[in-house]
């Protein structure tokens, strides 16, 4: 890509720039639409037409969302499930990846195959459903955390990362009499913070967005995380959860604005952590696609 000063090169660059700007606009517009929709006063929203910028702002919908116990509770559930789930899965994934980098560990290949096979074959939805039922995890928040102990894919990514840590660092610690647990906790983990942070944030985003597990196993609406409440409201068009109190007529007026506000509340945390993941994820994706 040498700087081309030719006219055709400049025309190409111009069109390319415009096209990419257009792509960026198409990507961002739906988010903007929701954001504007969430702050649009009722009088404005009933006027048909296109609101690129709202002329007046109203935070009524947000006040409404944060005044509803059910919604606030679901937000707390989401935060808990996201934090606990990510830490737990990261811990199990890391302690599984580490032993597998030892090439002379007896049974290493067999154990690795035993783990990796689950990526390629499974029993399917119904046997899994019956298992969770038998274990008594239905209607318990544990179902959103405990079964997701290990992501095999992330384990492989982390294993590749661990393999690139200089062996000498580990060996010198071992000579000093440190056991494997100590080496792992004192040397391997601190050196892997970027990889752990990236994978942790990926897992956290997955947990935050998880509506599937609650849909299958949580019938008790009091346990629902925000993603599931969102699904109930957006997809099933069920406003019941936001109901209660004396808001009925206001609610009717606000229905679309409330939906938009809840979408914003669910997307903002992802956009907030996004810059932190972005720094690393390209590398993570590459390691993952090359595989060990």
């Amino acid at each position: 890509m040498v700087k081309s000063t030719s006219l055709s090169g400049k025309i190409f660059d111009g069109f390319n720039l415009l096209f990419l700007l257009f792509m960026a606009a198409i990507t961002l517009y739906p988010f903007w639409h929701v954001l504007v929709g969430s702050v649009l006063p009722y009088e404005e929203s009933i006027k048909s037409g296109f609101h690129l910028f709202p002329r007046k702002l109203s935070f009524e919908a947000y006040e409404y969302v944060f005044s509803k116990d059910t919604l606030v509770r679901s937000l707390i559930v989401s935060v808990f499930v996201t934090a606990a789930g990510a830490l737990y899965q990261l811990f199990i994934t890391a302690i599984t990846a580490y032993p597998l980098i030892k090439q002379d560990l007896p049974g290493r290949t067999a154990i690795f195959l035993f783990i990796i096979f689950t990526m390629f074959f499974g029993g399917g939805l119904i046997p899994y459903y019956l298992l969770i039922k038998t274990l008594g995890l239905v209607n318990s928040l544990a179902v959103m955390i405990v079964p997701a102990a290990l992501s095999v894919y992330n384990m492989v990514v982390l294993k590749t990362f661990f393999q690139n840590i200089p062996k000498e660092l580990e060996e010198s610690a071992t000579i000093d009499g440190a056991g494997y647990m100590t080496v792992f906790a004192r040397i391997v983990l601190p050196l892997s913070v970027p990889a752990l942070a990236t994978i942790g944030l990926f897992v956290a985003v997955g947990q935050w967005n998880n509506w599937y597990v609650p849909m299958l196993f949580l019938n008790d609406k009091g346990l629902w995380p925000l993603a599931m409440v969102l699904r109930d409201i957006l997809i099933n068009n069920n406003m019941e959860l936001t109901r209660g109190g004396s808001f009925v007529s206001q609610e009717f007026m606000l229905a679309d604005t409330i939906k938009s506000a809840i979408v914003v509340v669910s997307v903002v945390p992802i956009i907030a952590v996004y810059p932190f993941i972005q720094k690393h994820f390209v590398k993570g994706v590459m390691i993952g696609s090359i595989k060990s």
């Binding site: 199990i92 597998l100 035993f114 689950t118 399917g124 119904i126 046997p127 079964p147």
Partner: protein, 321 residues
Amino acid sequence: MSGRRRAGENDMAARAVNTQGAGDVARRISKYKMLYVMLLPAVVFLIIFNYIPMYGATIAFKDFWMTKGILGSPWVGFEHFERLFATDKFWQVFRNTIEINLLRLLFGFPAPIVLAILLNEVRHKLFKRSIQTIVYLPHFISWVTIAGIIFSLLSNEGLVNKIITAFGGESVNFLTSNAMFRPLLVLSGIWKEAGWGTIIFLAALAGVNPDLYEAATVDGANRFKQIVHITLPSLLPVISILLILNFGSMMNGGFDQVFNLYNTMVYESGDVIDTYVYRIGLTQGKYSMATAIGLFLNIINFLLLILVNQAAKRMSGQGIY
């Protein structure tokens, strides 16, 4: 490469065992006992949450009764499969899954390649990085949220129809028409994943020697010719590998996307195997039948994967597992 390397290590390990005997293995096992302790939780969890359901899949060959349990329910052989293969609805969702995936392949597969090539042509670093940041974003948003946004844009009272009617047009049923549903799946899929998909192609392009472009410019090749003769050929290995891998997930209907976007009006064009299994099993409670479909699907997926891996190995000397 990975497979071969692993095999090589095994040979080395085997030789080591031969020369040093079983005492060495015992010594290494005791040296590494803490490492086995670290592996224990994962192995236990995988047995419970992955291997026991594989055993549970035997109810595909049983007449499953909740009260009798998996063990106590009577065997019926291939009865469920026979009934399944005689069901028109099953073949419809089977066909839907393949047809939708072919459409995704045809339109969704080239999208990130084109986008990556165009991004690669941008010389202004900050501009390029900003566009990348923006187009990666939808990958992290769940299909529930995206479906909600799509409904608010495309429903009968949605923005797009408001604009159409404001210009005197007739409002369009984007969400409940069989003609519109597949384009909706393909386009929303591109919107969500095309940007993210560029990562692997951009990485491949980062490795292209800049001298090639310089030489081409000296030879008088314009930008378009450079793309055709330098950029595309450099991407070809990655493109072919990813294309092959894509066939490995041909039976995967994309549950999250379809389940959040579809409705009874578009079952004819949009119902896929995964959503069908969900409804048969968990909405209608036909556990054995749904398990039979799931098992059939998983076996096809598994065979496809082995096939695809063989093909990838032959192409590049590098397998995917």
